[in-house]
């Protein structure tokens, strides 16, 4: 039995909005980064599913997913490096302590 496309899209939509919600509400830098990863993975699912079900004759969506995974890895590496640097300066990574720059 083949699973219909809608179910995949449901999963990706839930992941996307969970990511947006987490980005806004989480108070720890690593947790914020995890929320962003949820968003990016929702996008990858979307591309792969659209390609497989709607446009099976081409590869564009799958290629986009591969590139997007690679770029997301680079982004995470840089973000974690910056977070480590913050830990060295402040000894924690809570958002509420990042208040040196404000109006």
């Amino acid at each position: 039995m083949e699973i219909q496309m809608q179910y995949y899209l449901l999963v990706s939509t839930v992941m996307f909005f969970a990511g947006v919600y987490g980005f806004v509400t989480r108070r720890n830098l690593i947790a914020i980064l995890l929320s962003i990863e949820l968003i990016l993975n929702a996008v990858n699912i979307n591309f792969a599913v659209f390609n497989r079900y709607l446009f099976p004759g081409q590869m564009e969506g799958l290629f986009f997913s591969i590139f997007s995974i690679a770029i997301a890895a680079a982004e995470t590496a840089v973000a974690i490096a910056i977070i480590v640097n913050i830990y060295r300066n402040l000894k924690n990574i809570e958002v509420k302590n990042l208040d040196e720059l404000k109006d």
Binding site: L40, V43, E60, I71, E75, V78, E100, L101, D103
Partner: protein, 476 residues
């Protein structure tokens, strides 16, 4: 499938020569002896100047990789403008890079800076959303490392974290929109998408997600909150780069994508831009008035300038594109002049507050004059270049019938005049017990500041520049 045709790469002349410059500088930095590395910064500036001069005359329109990479004379002109801006930033950064805490990583700085420029080249030349996305990330990931470059200052680290998290979140939103666009049209090529756009609700939703990501990059209200913090915390050279080069490239890309890809739903995006322009210009102006830190002040000023830049996009006309590129050029020289003065004073004294500038004219008259020129140009006072760029961009919007919008923008110009003149007043009129002592900048900084001042005075008066640009523009 055919074998890879390497002649495709020969179309990408600018990118190839930039990569050559980057590789030469990287090898020089790694293998150069300690003695020869004394000349690293002059060599970097000269090599990059040669690269700029090589491409100063735009060639004919072309494309490669099956339309993924596009080249038009206007794109060539924009790349030259970005080159000139980057060259000025490199010259202004040299004094800061020679200081104790950064001298061992100046090679990294130049390499990362040029990598982001390469990403922007890809971004403005893209003919496909995947290519566009790769360019966007090649531009923004190294920029985050540059923002966090002063790694022993907690301000810089904080700004870096705020920048990278916001940038990735914005590109995540954009990507989600792109995935829906792909799902409803079945292609990622700019040329093929308009035929498949019907204006269905899902497509409008996809478009909104996509464009919000770009608004984040351009720091338009209400997606601007990261801008003041990042501008204040980043090293001044990086702030100036962020505020002109990165913003200029994003504005041009926004325009090309809107007129090429989303022309069938022009009514919708024009409505969105209409609201965004009004909110951006007005709110940023009101916030700028109460800033005391000059970097923060210029951050809000640059947000409101971004609003004016979008005025060139909203009509989607050829004249709009010409005035947009002209505005980017003028805004670049004015803002880089202001940031150059701030960087020079910050390097010598560490002061960035507006009160510290009281009485600057009595001790450093030349720096005060350059700053005044920059402020007059940003405010749009004739006969400086800023007046002409504002005039053309208002004319382009009025030509398409946006009279009320232009009126609101005009009123905001008057408000902005107030806060730009506050800086001038501090330097010339306010008295200070301990003004900043007289000092002399290094040669590169003086040269870059004279270049910017010449630009501010001449760009408006030499009408040939705008005339040439208006021949190259294209619209919907």
């Amino acid at each position: 499938m055919n074998a890879m045709d390497y002649s495709n790469f020969l179309v990408m002349k600018e990118e190839l020569s930039l990569v050559a410059v980057m590789v030469i500088l990287l090898l020089y930095d790694v293998f150069g002896s300690k003695k020869s590395l004394r000349y690293f910064q002059p060599v970097a500036c000269i090599l990059f100047a040669v690269h700029t001069l090589l491409h100063v005359v735009p060639s004919v329109a072309n494309e490669s990789f099956g339309g993924m990479y596009q080249y038009t004379p206007m794109i060539g002109v924009l790349k030259t403008i970005l080159n000139i801006g980057t060259l000025i930033v490199l010259m202004q950064a040299s004094e800061w890079l020679r200081s104790e805490s950064t001298i061992h990583k100046r090679g990294e700085f130049v390499f990362l800076l040029l990598t982001t420029l390469l990403g922007m080249y890809f971004m403005v030349s893209a003919g496909n959303f995947m290519f566009f996305y790769i360019g966007l990330e090649t531009a923004s990931i190294p920029l985050a490392t540059l923002v966090a470059f002063d790694k022993f200052k907690s301000k810089s680290a904080e700004a870096g974290a705020k920048y990278i998290l916001n940038a990735v979140f914005a590109s995540g939103l954009s990507l989600y929109g792109l995935s829906l666009i792909y799902g409803t049209t079945g292609t990622l090529y700019f040329e093929d998408i308009p035929a498949a756009i019907t204006g269905a609700p899902l497509q409008i939703l996809a478009f909104v997600f996509f464009v919000v990501g770009l608004f984040f990059k351009m720091s338009l209200v209400p997606f601007h909150q990261w801008t003041p913090d990042v501008y204040e915390g980043a090293p001044t050279a990086v702030t100036s780069y962020l505020s002109v080069i990165s913003k200029g490239a994003a504005a041009f890309v926004l325009m090309t994508i809107l007129i090429k890809v989303f022309s069938p739903i022009a009514a919708q995006w024009q409505g969105i831009l209409y609201g965004v322009i009004i909110v951006t210009i007005t709110l940023a102006n009101l916030f700028a008035i109460r800033q005391k830190n000059l970097k923060r002040f210029l951050a809000y000023s640059s947000i409101s300038q971004a609003g004016y830049i979008v005025l060139g996009i909203i009509g989607g006309s050829a004249m709009g594109m010409a005035s947009l590129v002209y505005y980017i050029l003028v805004y670049m020289v004015s803002n880089l002049a202001a940031f150059g003065v701030i960087a020079a004073i910050e390097n010598k004294t560490g002061k960035v507050s507006m009160d510290d500038y009281n009485g600057l004219y009595s001790t450093n008259p030349r720096l005060a004059l350059v700053m005044t020129l920059a402020m007059f140009s940003l405010a749009g006072i004739p006969p400086f270049a800023g007046f002409f760029s504002k005039f053309f961009i208002f004319a382009a919007a009025a030509e398409q019938g946006y009279y009320i919008l232009v009126l609101i923008a005009l009123i905001n110009t008057i408000i902005s005049l107030y806060y730009y003149l506050l800086v001038v007043k501090a330097m010339f009129i306010n008295k200070s017990d301990a003004p900043i002592a007289a000092f002399r900048c290094d040669g590169a900084m003086r040269f870059s500041l004279s270049l910017c001042s010449a630009g501010i005075v001449l760009l408006g008066l030499l009408s040939v520049i705008y005339n040439q640009l208006s021949l190259l523009g294209y619209g919907m």
